[in-house]
């Protein structure tokens, strides 16, 4: 019991120290730098176009867990669900020459990609599913980015803990061949818990980057000034913007 107390005491001292240091500005800066080093190392050593592994139909997990928001739950979304998302619109705007507003039928009429990939949650679990939808680069090609566009922001229909969910990626991931605006999971329209009617697939990053219930895609020059300024709902709470690790 005594040794345990000693260990607990040492642990608590270190923990208190780390918690203090971790909240300091220089340490936060260092954390962000290290996140950038991981991004740089992965892209330099593996290539910017490296593909996430694609699996066989037999590898698909028995069902696909829903996490975070599993139903936006408000009256507007409920009406969309009841109408089979017939009036859902995907707006594409921001720093583009040709802003778009796409219906689900228009999204489904674009060239499609189907891929069976593993979804990794930041919490640690994984599920495998088959996703179908147009590549984001097809839609961005139609909208024609302006030269100063550096990030793509996804605006979602759900509130999580009272705040609108949003996410962002850079242009390397935006134009990656496996980055999809998915409308199907395992050959059927997306279930509500998995982001109906449209969700992102950003296969080389963790699950919280894969925005669900997507209503708008926006090209921006900087993430400053959007919500908490860190580029995403979880990023504003201290999670890593680059979630490839």
């Amino acid at each position: 019991m005594k040794r345990r107390n000693l260990l607990a005491g040492l642990g608590a001292t270190l923990v208190a120290g780390c918690s203090k240091v971790g909240d300091s500005q220089p340490m936060q800066k260092l954390f962000e730098l290290a996140d950038g080093w991981h991004r740089g190392a992965q892209r330099t050593l593996g290539g910017r176009q490296a593909l996430a592994r694609e699996f066989a139909v037999s590898d698909i997990s028995p069902h696909f867990r829903g996490n975070g928001t599993t139903d936006p739950g408000d009256a507007t979304y409920a009406a969309h669900t009841a109408a089979g998302f017939a009036d859902w619109k995907l707006a594409v705007g921001g720093l583009v020459n040709n802003p778009l507003e796409l219906s689900l039928d228009q999204v489904r009429a674009l060239p499609q990609r189907t891929q069976i990939t593993r979804h990794d949650c930041v919490e640690g679990w994984s599920a495998i599913g088959q996703w179908t939808g147009p590549q984001l680069k097809t839609i961005l090609g139609m909208a024609r980015l302006k030269p100063d566009a550096r990030y793509i922001v996804f605006r979602c229909a759900d509130l999580l803990e009272g705040a609108p969910y949003y996410e962002s990626i850079d242009l390397v991931d935006a134009f990656h061949p496996q980055t999809l605006v998915a409308h199907q999971l395992n050959g059927a329209p997306l279930p509500v818990k998995n982001g109906a009617p449209l969700r992102m697939r950003i296969e080389r990053q963790l699950g919280y980057k894969h925005a669900k219930y997507v209503q708008a895609i926006e090209a921006v020059a900087s993430l400053d000034g959007i919500a908490g300024g860190k580029g995403g709902f979880w990023e504003d709470k201290g999670y890593q913007w680059y979630a490839g690790i």
Partner: protein
């Protein structure tokens, strides 16, 4: 020449700091989803081969559940750990530390020699054998340096979706991301086991002198 070279001493303490932070922030991360699986996928308790204990705040960094904060510590000190290990290994390869002190000789693998070494340890006699380290020490350091520490780095990389795209062989080596995560956890606790035994043996073999030598370097005649 000193008992411990400067490069060994610097790495020893930097690595201790890195491993303690990695382990304690890792326990915080473990609390986010305390189930372990084999294979490529797994997301609910009935897929799990192990339900992990939830670790109390005094054992985790930060000292309360905070997945984002714990990952910040973990991912920063992963660099300190991996780059530190790489540099130490390069230096130890070049200056002969591995060849002279860690590599075992054929005759040390004879059962009579091993039995003698174990008996000596049980008598708390740690200063025997021809080189700087006796056989069990070489074996322990060798397993930690060349198996457990590299396994931590590679299994950690295999958990990362970006690394899996960059280095797809990671998934084949470990048999899937969830297997890699399980191995990451098992090896982390193996290293904790090494840490406990290592500290116990230091306490049993003159802790003041041992600590002093790992800081100042000590003198080589003490090592004979």
């Amino acid at each position: 020449m000193r008992k411990h070279r400067l490069s060994t001493r610097i790495w020893h303490w930097v690595n201790l700091l890195a491993l303690v932070i990695l382990f304690m922030s890792g326990l915080n991360i473990s609390n986010a989803h305390p189930w372990l699986y084999w294979g490529q996928w797994g997301f609910e308790p009935n897929h799990a081969w192990l339900a992990v204990h939830r670790w109390p705040g005094w054992a985790t960094i930060p000292g309360y559940y905070n997945l984002g904060g714990a990952r910040s510590w973990h991912l920063l000190f992963a660099w300190v750990f991996a780059v530190g290990l790489l540099l130490y290994m390069l230096v130890a390869l070049i200056n002969g530390h591995f060849r002279r002190d860690i590599v075992t000789r054929r005759k040390e693998w004879r059962w009579s020699a091993i039995r003698g070494d174990i008996t000596a340890h049980l008598r708390f006699d740690f200063h025997h054998g021809e080189g700087k380290y006796n056989f069990l020490q070489k074996l322990a350091y060798g397993v930690v340096l060349f198996i457990l520490l590299p396994l931590m780095i590679f299994s950690g990389m295999a958990i990362s979706p970006g690394s899996d795209a960059a280095f797809p062989w990671l998934l084949d080596v470990f048999g899937g991301r969830q297997s890699a995560r399980s191995i990451h956890f098992i090896v982390a606790w193996s290293l904790f086991g090494f840490f406990v035994i290592h500290v116990l043996l230091v306490l049993l073999s003159g802790p003041i002198g041992q600590l002093r030598d790992m800081i100042t370097g000590g003198r080589s005649d003490e090592a004979a």
